[in-house]
């Protein structure tokens, strides 16, 4: 490979270095602070979402179980099922 110095990389490098030097300190600090703030907000949102999801799941499950156990066997589910027609108790367990 021939001498790399011959490539004009250094011009672009100089521009990048100048740009890095020019950018104001407070703008960089602001970007970092904003990034951290966003991350914390995203984390809180995620936690709230998780909790709401759990609550919704529990609520759905409890409504389902209440409606299941609160129904009379004849009126529950598929009335044409063999067990229901034969009058067998299809509940998984009794309470």
């Amino acid at each position: 490979m021939e001498h790399l110095e011959n490539f004009r990389f250094h011009e672009i490098k100089q521009e990048i270095e100048a740009a890095s030097g020019e950018v104001a300190e407070d703008r960089l600090n602001q970007a970092i602070a904003k990034g951290l703030h966003r991350a914390k907000r995203a984390r809180i949102k995620r936690q709230i979402g998780f909790q709401v999801g759990i609550m919704a799941g529990l609520l759905t499950l409890s409504v389902f179980l209440l409606s299941y156990w609160g129904q009379d066997m004849e009126g529950w589910g598929n009335s044409t099922s063999t067990s229901a027609v034969q009058g067998k108790n299809t509940r998984p367990f009794s309470i």
Binding site: N6, R8, F9, K13, L28, K34, L36, K40
Partner: protein, 175 residues
Amino acid sequence: MDENEWAAHARHGDELAFNQLVSLHKRKLYGIAYSYLRNEADALDVLQDSVCKAWLKKATLRDHDAFLPWITRILINGCIDDLKRKQRVLPKSEAGYEGTHEMMTIYRMDLEIALTHLKPKYRHVLILKYYHDMTLSDIAKIMDRPEGTVKTWLHQALKQVKKQINKGGAILWSI
């Protein structure tokens, strides 16, 4: 406290330590973002986004020594995503050059156009090596590849840049 200790604290959720670490490398990180995006506002946006991602994923930092390569990788991925999102082309036409700088601009544009034709992995190696003076071992850490592989990529990248520039008919070598 040294950098390793800060990284260890940051990993366990110490915001102050994380802030210190990022602040220590902020200009370097900004420079890398700028070398991909060539725009101050975009580079700052990507820096902000990377800090956010890094804080959310801080538990994935296994090696405390590797904080800088780790966050640099997040930053580069952010830059690539941003470029893809905006469908931007790397070389920008800069009207600011005049007179004696004209020739330089032509060389420069040839080089930048050649860079856009490279595979991303080759481009990353060239950018990190020649724009940021990183060693091969630093680049290997950032790219999570063995040093030998990075060396090969660098060689291939330079070969392809040379080929691209020659194909474009421009004068390759400096006066």
